[in-house]
């Protein structure tokens, strides 16, 4: 969806603020919400793609105002309710509803390392054919889905060259919405800075963007 998370090319966001010797977490709650997000995803009720969409659908002003981990807290609460893990009453009271049957956690000390090492499924699947080959000129499609997508606005409609075929990956645009993995090839596509930003951009520079088959069309 076209919202504020899709930041590439926006201007007016100010200078980069740099903190020297930055800690991994600035407060213990940041670590806790980070870990809670990962532990709850281990229930496999939603995917990383769904998680990302959960941030994208936040109200733009909230997204911009909140710190990174505050967004995570906000998203997790919303997802816990919408996927039925907790009720809004329980969130408000802070205690389980009377008569709640206690579950058994799936993300435990014994299983943590296997969850962490699981990675993101991708594979070489000869049965899934690439639509494009290395060296081919392509155009990023001009699509504006209201759901999740990983095709940034600044690349839509722009022409580039396939530099590398990364193999087969789950398609986030459908997977985020439980509409199937729709596995397909992902390519590294090179766009010149001038194609993306016009003649005032450097003649030499370029942006490499990873793109699924369905984001591309022949040129």
């Amino acid at each position: 969806m076209n919202s504020v998370h899709d930041m590439g090319g926006q201007q007016g966001m100010g200078p980069v603020s740099y903190e020297k010797d930055e800690p991994v977490f600035h407060a213990s709650w940041e670590g806790r919400i980070y870990a809670l997000n990962r532990a709850m995803r281990a229930w496999r009720k939603w995917s990383l793609d769904t998680d990302r969409y959960g941030l994208e659908t936040m109200r733009p002003l909230d997204y911009l105002r909140m710190s990174y981990y505050e967004r995570w807290a906000h998203r997790l609460e919303a997802q816990l309710v919408s996927f039925g893990f907790v009720t809004r009453d329980e969130l408000q009271s802070g205690t389980p509803a009377p008569g709640t049957v206690r579950a058994t956690p799936v993300f435990t000390l014994a299983t943590a390392s296997s969850w962490l090492n699981r990675g993101i499924p991708s594979s070489r699947e000869p049965a899934i054919r690439p639509s494009f080959k290395v060296g081919q000129r392509v155009r990023a499609r001009n699509i504006n889905p209201t759901g999740h997508t990983r095709l940034p606005r600044y690349a839509r409609g722009k022409a580039g060259v396939i530099m590398r075929d990364h193999g087969v990956y789950v398609f986030p645009d459908t997977n985020a919405h439980f509409q199937g993995e729709n596995r397909q090839h992902v390519y590294s596509v090179r766009f010149t800075a001038r194609e993306l930003w016009g003649d005032s951009a450097s003649q030499r520079d370029s942006v490499y963007i990873d793109m699924w088959d369905d984001y591309l069309e022949r040129l």
Partner: protein
């Protein structure tokens, strides 16, 4: 969506509720004592309480195990981080065969060093040279090569960096004190898929006699994201 739609009254009740929950919650919650109060972002003071209450609720419902959360946090704070990436870079600098493997099949070469998990499964290493400078960004969220660099710093996830890295990479580089001649080609890598990028910086001159450990000590997180170059300490002496 979400509880942002609730009105102000609802919000007050919500906060009152979680405050009560935090007090009555029967489950022990690990409280870290090394909290840094940090004011660079507008974080409401109730957030720590709210997260504590949320964890307490999820523990009581048997949905999460606090000790597993502790272990996860310990991993991110102490076991993964840019020192891992620095060792990969130093090895590539002293071992041409390793460097070749790293550039051709980064996941396997990184696994050789014992680092492999989570977001790093599909690593791609891009090499800086006198003619090419690489810069990593995730314009859509915060994708970052966790096993070799740990969790990303705030600036990497911030709007100024994410918005400008693709349209004005040389301006971003200047802010980090990295001025590139016009004839150097800048390649920006926007991490839109599940590939995770690491920059192999140029080895600085004057490091010929250094050991792998000494070289690794020179390599910074920022250089592996591509916003700076690796330099010798100001003294020019050995690490």
């Amino acid at each position: 969506m979400g509880d942002s739609d609730k009105g102000a009254v609802d919000r007050r009740e919500f906060l009152k509720g979680i405050a009560a929950g935090a007090v009555t919650g029967a489950t022990q919650v690990t409280v870290h004592t090394q909290d840094h109060q940090h004011d660079h972002q507008d974080v409401p003071s109730d957030l720590a309480l709210r997260v504590k209450a949320l964890e307490s609720l999820l523990v009581e419902k048997g949905l999460v195990d606090s000790s597993a959360l502790d272990a996860l946090i310990d991993t991110m704070e102490h076991k993964v981080g840019p020192r891992n990436g620095a060792r990969v870079v130093a090895r590539a600098w002293i071992d041409q065969a390793y460097k070749k493997r790293l550039l051709e099949d980064a996941p396997a070469a990184i696994a050789e060093m014992g680092y492999s998990s989570g977001q790093g499964d599909h690593m791609v290493v891009v090499e800086n040279s006198p003619k090419v400078h690489n810069l990593i960004v995730c314009t859509l969220c915060s994708c970052y090569p966790w096993p070799v660099l740990g969790l990303p710093p705030v600036w990497y996830k911030s709007a100024p960096y994410r918005s400008r890295a693709v349209i004005d990479p040389r301006g971003i580089l200047r802010e980090f004190g990295t001025t590139l001649p016009d004839e150097v080609e800048v390649r920006v890598w926007d991490s839109t898929a599940e590939l995770r990028y690491l920059v192999l910086p140029e080895r600085p001159s004057g490091t010929e006699g250094m050991t792998e450990e000494q070289l690794a000590a020179l390599v910074t997180r920022d250089a592996m994201v591509g916003v700076t170059r690796v330099t010798l300490p100001p003294s020019g002496g050995r690490a």
